[in-house]
């Protein structure tokens, strides 16, 4: 199927914006995606027609919003093929989801002498929480190394696996280099040592089909705002048996069963992990985003984005002095690069003035940048609404930019 990208673009009002008198070319989708009208309209509709706090309400509005909220949980469960709605927890975002697991898992299962495994590709969100919990529990953080292309060294990974490893947490797609990590195989290998696995899917669910049962991961996290949904909402998937054995993370309303002044018993999953008033409006709008992309089809999205990625890579390699950072065999959506004699910040500022939004710097992956011996990169990252024409605009902008610095 060939997608009609121009029709899709019309669903995203912000793409018509002018920036410094130039049509916006938005290539910062790794940081956050833009929102289709259906998502924006759903938020408005909720506030204009149905807003009321969910659960425990006996009145009409509260029943409606509770119903919509629980239907959204169903939509998310279906999207990643969870085996039950209970396995879906709404959080603030990927960072919140990872912190929840690091904290709850660490509290119950980590002690001195244990190891936690992450990869050299991780975003700070999937690194710093583990550093913190390792510091607290005395467990050791082990880093699975990569090669110069940005691919995980599978033999080193297998060497690191042992009974001392208590959990593996790894990204599905690298936000800074675009590498697609072969997580399915890695999860199977971890399971041989009974190691549970958390997948940081912040950069994958919007680009490639993700099926938690096929992957067989114990946990998976992603952010609403990176998958065409609103900010302030995210998802944590967990296998029922695991969610049931983890202690709660935050305390408050909704996550309790019975409370006395001195002690409480907790609700069943998923509510056990949803303390306080949930962000039901954004959860409902996230479900709308998921329906929107499911209608287009994740396979179609992947095909379109791969084509853009291939074309952009090809064109960029023609620019002298441009070096692509991250050349893994399997990549999704993002291209990081440096320009000879041009600092990434300078490049970002100039591209901005040409109407092109890119991200520059360390992309929340400082240790990776240090490892690669650079202070940062310029990153373009694509979404469903990007076109080859936009790539052409980028390429000529880069050429212009080079001239400015010579």
């Amino acid at each position: 199927m060939n997608l009609d990208i121009n029709r899709i673009r019309r669903d995203f009002p912000i793409l018509e914006q002018q920036v410094y008198g130039k049509t916006l070319v938005y290539l910062d989708n790794g940081a956050t995606t833009q929102k289709p009208n259906v998502v924006i309209d759903k938020i408005c509709e909720m506030y204009r027609k149905y807003n009321a706090n969910i659960h425990r309400g006996v009145h009409y509005l509260s029943e409606k919003s509770t119903q919509f909220y629980e239907e959204s949980r169903q939509t998310v469960a279906h999207f990643i093929n969870a085996s039950s709605n209970k396995e879906i927890i709404f959080t603030k975002g990927t960072t919140d989801s990872v912190n929840l697991i690091a904290h709850a898992f660490g509290d119950r299962f980590l002690k001195k002498g244990d190891q936690v495994l992450v990869t050299a590709l991780e975003h700070h969100a999937n690194l710093v929480p583990w550093q913190m919990i390792c510091q607290k529990t005395g467990a050791e953080l082990k880093i699975i190394p990569i090669n110069e292309k940005g691919e995980i060294l599978q033999d080193k990974y297998r060497e690191l696996l042992s009974d001392r490893c208590k959990i593996l947490s790894l990204t599905h797609v690298s936000n800074s280099l675009g590498t697609i990590v072969p997580i399915k195989e890695m999860i199977a290998q971890a399971h041989a040592y009974h190691i549970p696995v958390l997948v940081d899917a912040a950069q994958s669910v919007q680009h490639i089909p993700v099926d938690v049962q096929e992957l067989d991961c114990e946990f998976l996290a992603f952010s609403g705002h990176k998958i065409y949904g609103p900010t302030g909402i995210g998802v944590l998937y967990g296998k029922t048996e695991w969610l049931e054995k983890l202690p709660p993370y935050q305390g408050g309303g909704d996550m309790i069963d019975d409370v006395e002044y001195q002690k409480s018993t907790y609700a069943e999953i998923p509510l056990k992990f949803e303390a306080g008033t949930s962000n039901y409006v954004d959860a409902i709008a996230l479900a709308e985003a998921i329906k929107y992309i499911s209608n287009i089809g994740l396979k179609n999205i992947a095909a379109h984005e791969q084509e853009i990625l291939r074309y952009a890579t090809e064109q960029m390699l023609k620019i002298e002095g441009l070096k692509i950072i991250g050349t893994a065999a399997q990549k999704a959506s993002a291209i990081s690069f440096t320009l000879k004699n041009v600092h990434n910040l300078d490049a970002g500022m100039i591209l901005d003035k040409m109407g092109i939004a890119v991200r520059t710097g360390h992309h929340c992956a400082q240790p990776l940048m240090k490892k690669l011996g650079i202070t940062g990169t310029i990153r373009v990252s694509f979404a469903i609404y990007n076109t080859k024409d936009e790539v052409d605009v980028l390429i000529s902008a880069l050429q212009k930019l080079k001239q400015m610095f010579n």
Binding site: Y20, V342, H343, L345, D346, M349, I350, K353, M354, G361, T375, M404, F405
Partner: protein, 141 residues
């Protein structure tokens, strides 16, 4: 020239460029014309915190009691901006530097066009320059 005369001069120069890209080109050209800082000062000691790019700043007190600055950055536009700051404040007396109000930054539209993080960086540079002035002033008195 006084600090304000130099500021007005810079404002006039930037006025020529209607397009933002041209202003940036001008900053880039300024940076290339600015002599680099002595390599011995490109150390953490002279690094300014709060900038997204690395900025080194060094200052000495001349015999006539004025301050002479030298600076560098790994980002060219940043270096262009510093070179403007230096042009305005170089060879001025600590007292003057301490009290000066740098309105040119707003007037050439730089501050509105800097991201808040970059604006922070600019503020940090300026703060560091004033700190030198305060230090030298204290030394002199």
């Amino acid at each position: 020239m006084t600090i304000n005369e130099i500021q007005d001069q810079i404002i006039a120069e930037f006025d020529i460029y209607a397009e933002w890209l041209d202003k940036y080109q001008y900053l880039i050209d300024l940076a290339s014309d600015t002599p680099a800082i002595d390599e011995t000062y490109k150390t953490n000691r002279y690094l300014i915190n709060g900038c997204q790019s690395r900025v080194w700043l060094h200052a000495t007190l001349s015999k006539d009691g004025s301050i002479s600055f030298s600076a560098d950055s790994d980002a060219i536009i940043t270096k262009g901006i510093i070179s403007l700051l230096i042009r305005v404040l170089n060879n001025k007396k600590p007292q003057e530097i301490k009290e000066t109000d740098l309105y040119f930054i707003d007037k050439i539209g730089l501050s509105q066009n800097l991201s808040p993080t970059r604006a922070n960086g600019l503020a940090s540079m300026l703060k560091q320059m004033k700190l030198y002035a305060i230090a030298f002033d204290a030394k002199q008195n």
